[in-house]
Amino acid sequence: MEEILKVDKLTKIYGKDNNKVVALDKVSFTVNKGEFVAIIGASGSGKSTLLHLIGGVDRPTSGKVFIEGEDIFKLSDDNLAIFRRRQVGLIYQFYNLLPILNVEENIKLPVELDGKKVDEKDLTELLKTLGLESRRKHLPNELSGGQQQRTSIGRAMINHPAIILADEPTGNLDSKASDEIMELLKLSNKKYNQTIIMITHNLELASQADRIIKLEDGRIVEGE
């Protein structure tokens, strides 16, 4: 199977001297294309830090991350940003949509940042998949939490990235909406062979993934 992500001895230390906190301690693992990986761990175990490093929104103290063979921390900030918008889709617990853009515009954002035009057929199909077809012109605050999260999933998927990173995507939702989101993620995983890495502390949700990586005090204790 094709290896899409390789994490190599990734270390992240916050603070200095006495205040030193080792968030990640030489974490290494690989993810293959089309895999749906769940990362679980208690709060403070370093799972969010790991996700941010993989997504290239933060830089490690040491160690490497390869996405499709590319050592992402060797890229300049700008190139990393470009790499991110093309190859990584991020989904946050709090959606992080731009309140003044409507659903469609929020989803189109990464493509437009590339100065490209969105293929209308693709977009319509995506909106249909997300179940937001009738809401495409709505602003985020006119949507329910689940709908907002689906919009942010749409934004993550629009560029067909190599990898989707989801940070507690259902953390802020009720169980019905959570189920919908999980279905959607699983669907994209199956339908588009989309690689997904999801952080959660909900074991039930984690169990729906292909593989579970468990973090404890910045170390992988299970699922390496």
């Binding site: 700008d78 992080n96 731009l98 003044i100 437009e112």
Partner: protein, 883 residues
Amino acid sequence: MNLLHRLTKKNLELNRKRTIVTIIGIILSVALITAVSTVFMSGYKSIVQFEKVFYGDYHMVFEKVDEDNFNRIKNNRYVEHYFYSNEIGYSKLEEGKNDYKPYLYVLAFNKDGLDKAGLVLLDGRYPENENEVVISSHIKTDARVKYNIGDTLELDVGKRTIDGVQVGQHIMYDTEVGEELVDITHKTYKIVGLIERPSNVVEDFSAPGYSVITYTDHPSEKSSIYVRFNKDGLKHSKKAISSLMNIDYSLYLKMNDDDLTEEEQAQMVQDVNYDINANEYLMTLEGGLFDNKMFESLGKIVAVVIGIIIVTSVFCIKNSFDISIAEKTRQYGMLASVGATKKQIRKNVFYEAFRLGLVGIPCGILLGLFASWILIIITNLIFKNFLSVYDYNFLIFSISIPAILVSIALGIVTLFLSSLRSARKASKIAPITAIRNSEEIKIKANKVKSPKIIKKIFGVGGEISYKNLKRSKKKYRTTVISIIVSIAIFISLSSLMTLLYKTIKQEYSGKDYTLAVNYRLEKIENEKQKREQIINLDGVKDYAITNAMGGYVIENEGVNFSEEYTKATDDNVNRYNEYGGEYKDLILARVGDHAYKNYLKKLGLKEEDVKGKGILWNYAQVYSAKKADMVKVECYNINKNVKTLHLSKLQYDEEKHEEYVEKFADIDLVEVTQDKPFGVTVNGSATLILDDETYNKLVTDQVPYNEILIDADNADDLQDQIEKILDGDDFSITNILEDVRMMRALVLLIGIFLYGFITVIILIGITNIFNTITTNMELRQKEFAMLKSVGMTKKEFNRMVRLETFFYGTKALLIGLPIGIALSILLYYLLTNATSLVNYPIPYVPVLISIVAVFVLITCIMKYSISKINKQNIIETIRNENI
């Protein structure tokens, strides 16, 4: 439009209030720059126009050239335009009262010349044929010969010669040298108009003939040709001049440096056998704006002013970008996390600036042009009184394209500088901040400790507001600095105004009269009767009939120069005392019965007590080398024991070429005062005021002379009436009202400009304060909601906000007031000197205004923000987790 741009547009529309306020800031700043540069350019154009109208629209004049030269000059490639004049000749003006101007000088201009030689028509019209003339007005005022429009002039016109050599207007009339008019022909002219005395190129200051100007339509064999350079000629004026003189350029340069050999000099005299005069001022004015000394230094002032405007505006506008970035931190973080590059984000901020500028700059330009148009109209209205006779507008409004382009460029620079830092800051926002909640608030616990006293005095609300201030120091710093800048500028400039007014008031306080009539008694027929007539005229508010005599010396031991006097003259080698400086000079003066009695009343003295005694006006004006100007000081320090002044008189021994003192008189002293009677002006030493009888008895070696000083509102009318009464007599009359009015108008004008400037700077400051406060309040909505949710009542909340207002209002005042006062003291010392009698005016009123205005302003803005916050639902605000 791409998505990012659309995002910006939406953001701007969403924050309409702040967008509008920011645009107002930009408009004000650009308008100020435009107004300053437009007024500057209009001033320049006005002065060029003024020069053209009053001194002539030509750069060089070649006098009495022959036909060959005439044709050569008029066809020269540097000449844009020319006109010419022919000398007709001189005619004796028999009734003339000025001994040094015994002639009428008849001169003919062609039509263009009448328009462009700087002749200013006061009445009637210009001559249209060779039998009509206009005469200059000083034939009436100076020579006191009355000719009226419509009169016929019968003149015997000839050439003015000295020892057989023909001479013109440049040679002074000397009564000792015999000169005569030859080749006399009789001419008859009809007077059709009255002109102002022509400029000194046409009629020299010491010209012997009054100008009488007629018309001609063809050059004579010895015409003077006046040329106006074209652009090329103005640019290369030296080349143009040498070319017009028909000499080698290098030779011309040598001549300019006084480097010619004798041979060359002789050759030059032979080749250039005519006089050349230049209208140099116009030439330098038009040659290049900044080649001119006055405009060079004015330009520097304008540059400094524009610099201040830009710095102030950059500071203020920058602030609104900063706020916008702070608000949008999460937005930029999110954009970064979905892959926006730094460059894209930077560009986004600049795009925001671009959109704001797109509206603000054109509006600013228009507003600036409008404001300068109004200013120029006002200026012209103020100055109308002085130039009304000419039907001439002092300032012309000129829209200068380069000035506008410069303003646009500076506006863009201002905006660019304003957004630069924000753009950098925005692009540096790490994508992680979008995920974490906020980066703006970074606090260290020990930094927000508040003194216990605050809690004691102001309660919990006070403590929280104090901590808020400390926590968001940076945010409030802009507000506080905006207030400080506004206060400092307001206080310093308004005390500058006060100082200007005071100085001018003092400058003219010596001159409490508006009309001065001078004459020697023997030159007036029926002097007494005419004097009575004058002082009884309607409109005479107060008057004095004065005379004064200097050259007296106080010999008393107990009289010494005052500290003020010594201080003012200390560094001064040439003490303001023409007799060597060691003498304690005194001037004796009388003011006439009327003014003297009023003076006694003012001092509370009885006539019988002072009869034959003196009142010392202990006040003098001396030259201070330090200040390079005259300063007014208390003159003497007089010991209380001094009851009688022992006076000597300075005399000059013609044979020994020495001065000596001679015992003069002892005069009892009744009073030493800083008060003066009406009509006496400040002198180089103290003045002893005497009653008429005593003065006349003591001062015997003086030509009987009167100066009638009159205070009147309608000085112009009165002047006419007095001139009528003294018609035919030898006298001189001075109208000071004109000067005073001119000065006052000038102060008013400076006031309008300064206060206009203050107003706009303060407005920029207010937009800034408004922006920071309202946004800060909005950004803290969540915090306020939290406070309310834990049970803070509306009353407590309002109290907390009020306290916050009070805290930083006080902080701004504590810093702003001293800076403003320090600046005003600095200005005071720059403009006056320590010895000036105008004491530093403590700017109570501006300080008070500042204090009240600051609190009223902040309270209003806070109230406005609170009213918006109070409308919001607590839970909604807290739960609103979106960006």
